[in-house]
Symmetry: C2
Subunit: 142 residues, 2 copies
DNA sequence: CCATTTCCGGATGTATAAGTCCACTGATCG
DNA sequence: CGATCAGTGGACTTATACATCCGGAAATGG
């Protein structure tokens, strides 16, 4: 619930990119797969979305790989979710029917709005800079 | 995202049960399917979970159906989520690996905790009583 | 009792997400 | 240039959630 598998991968990959000392060096997909615990052959699928969304750049050939296009603190979780087609902004009301909206709300619409607002707030106010909030390095994971 | 399809059905079914004037009369699955917009043959699957969880009772035979076992205000969204195997309390950290927990948190664990706390708070503080917050009746949906 | 109603639950089918595979393209280095 | 490296993207397979089907069991009413 909350996040799907592909979004999780995207977050971990982005967090890994943001956690490295040299943000300008390229990280090949094999390293990303290992570091962010993403199935080897699935990395390219995940990263492609982030490239298309303009969050990371990709480079082919020797010495190529992926790198962040912005500062970690400029990349909100919301933009990562948008890149993985989970844009929290256009989620329909889970409780009403197709036509439930602000003008013709269902019985539970206020409850839905509260949830959505709090999720949106979280996604927009949290950025990759929070990678540095926590001292535990990724490498500690066995 | 946020809620899966089965959980949505469960919420709508529960909301319909809570919305009726006579809470003690039984509602057959055919009526639930119609009212809560659940695929006809899938209603029993959804309702079974709610029965097992002790939120509703079921009765077979003529005049049978489902009815709430508690007052709407006693039924929190959290208990409905638990009934549909989406217990928000035991969701692992989406950002860390398998071994990410409070003692050995990953880089993004604080961000995850904030999200989880806010979701838990919402699910526990919202009840089916909120069905009456909104004047729009379900029947208005074409 | 018997007929009917309604839930029960396993077996089965379908849609979508997740994951794999591979031939291709572009970049780099010697 | 030729060898190698690394992302690209389409085709394919697998896993999981969603949905359907149907025989059966309990409850009710006549």
């Amino acid at each position: 619930m909350l996040l799907n598998q592909t979004a999780e991968y995207a977050f971990r990959a982005m967090a890994y990119l943001a956690s490295r000392a040299d943000l300008d060096s390229a990280v090949p997909s094999a390293e990303l797969a290992e570091a962010a615990n993403i199935p080897g052959h699935y990395v390219s699928k995940v990263m492609r979305r982030l490239v298309v969304a303009g969050l990371v750049s990709s480079q082919r050939g020797h010495g190529g790989g992926f790198r962040l296009l912005k500062e970690p603190r400029e990349i909100s979780f919301s933009t990562i979710l948008q890149a993985t087609d989970l844009d929290p902004r256009n989620q329909r009301c889970a409780f009403g029917f197709g036509q439930c909206d602000a003008e013709r709300p269902c019985h539970l619409h206020p409850a839905w709005s509260r949830l959505k607002e709090s999720f949106n707030g979280w996604a927009e106010s949290t950025t990759l800079a929070s990678v540095h909030d926590n001292p535990e390095p990724w490498k500690d994971a066995p």
